[in-house]
Subunit: 180 residues, 2 copies
DNA sequence: CGAGCGATTGAACGCTCTCAAAGTGAGTGG
DNA sequence: CCACTCACTTTGAGAGCGTTCAATCGCTCG
């Protein structure tokens, strides 16, 4: 199955036997979803909000590709973009501090929002603290503490736990890259 | 540029401004290398041993795809396999303990070796402890300590720092998945 | 108003890191 | 053949960042 998110937010994640969870991606409207190859993609997915999808079954995708080979070019380009993003996240999970992780996460959401044309007002966070923690390889408490730290430093304003305004994008970017 | 490794081992990695490094993959003979899409893949690569590659420039790949569309199918499948592996590694980096990480790493090498048909004798490690650390999101000292711990537990035998024999594959697998 | 859930904050613990020293092996030159 | 160097690895001791455990806060809903 292949498709895109039309409305809402989805998390995709991997699990260990004892329940430890690592979120490998948040999917927003416009994001590609699914695997165009036969093999099952070993990842779980769960909607964070009511979601509207536009998906095609595998057989239809195969037909569309035959009729329009440029589709496969596009799918290949998307797959490599996703791979690059996954490797960026490996750098985050393997080498960044808690503060750098949260800063990187907020910048990612800002970028994703601006791509969707959502520029005015505070950043919307469809996920809760636990899901942010499972994305950043941290615990809920550490995520919360880092939010508080960024707030106290005046870099962000927390309207409520699901809405954050970025006050100093440049300083946040420095933190995210470890150059602060 | 697109191609495969014929002989030798390559590491691919990402860097932070201050030099922190995350290795995102080790490439062995038979592994695919490069990006078939125009955009530059933002990753560094370095040979660990003398390496022999079989690569084609971008223009040639484009021509080959036109002549043989199944090539693009194959490239797409490879990209999605790599994405799945990258996400498995995100789970490792975000949620596994040092012991679990090393066990997972050793099993990965065993699998890669058996795919290449290298089954007899101890496992060859072309990389040093520092590179293993940069792959597992740990330090050299922690990697070394975990090797010693596995050795003391009788799960592996360390012939020299670049050659390890796996004694209890099953127990190692349990550790790797957190079910030990 | 009280229950319940998520988020925040505090305190103490522990896994991994940092700093330091000693061990090991390959390569070089006397 | 042995002494020396140098890089890599191992091991030890102590520190620190993030976790764990626990209490409190704040919001929503009945």
């Amino acid at each position: 199955m292949v498709g895109t998110v039309v409305r809402g937010t989805i998390k995709t994640y991997k699990l260990l036997a004892d329940g430890r969870q690592q979120i490998v991606g948040f999917l927003f409207p416009g994001d590609f979803v699914g695997s165009p190859t036969q093999d099952t993609h070993h990842v779980f997915a769960e909607a964070l909000t009511p979601v509207e999808l536009c998906v095609f079954p595998f057989s239809t995708v195969q037909r569309l590709i035959r009729e329009m080979p440029s589709l496969e070019h596009r799918l290949l380009a998307i797959a490599h973009e996703d791979l690059d993003l996954a490797q960026d996240w490996m750098l985050l999970l393997g080498r960044k501090t808690a503060q750098e992780r949260l800063a990187t996460f907020l910048l990612l959401l800002v970028n994703k929002a601006s791509i969707r044309g959502v520029v005015g007002g505070p950043l919307e966070l469809p996920m809760n603290r636990g899901e942010i923690a499972d994305y950043l390889g941290l615990t809920i408490e550490t995520v919360s503490r880092q939010f508080s730290k960024l707030k106290k430093a005046g870099l962000i304003r927390i309207d409520d736990s699901h809405a954050v305004a970025i006050i100093h994008l440049d300083r946040l970017a420095e933190i995210a890259e470890g150059t602060a």
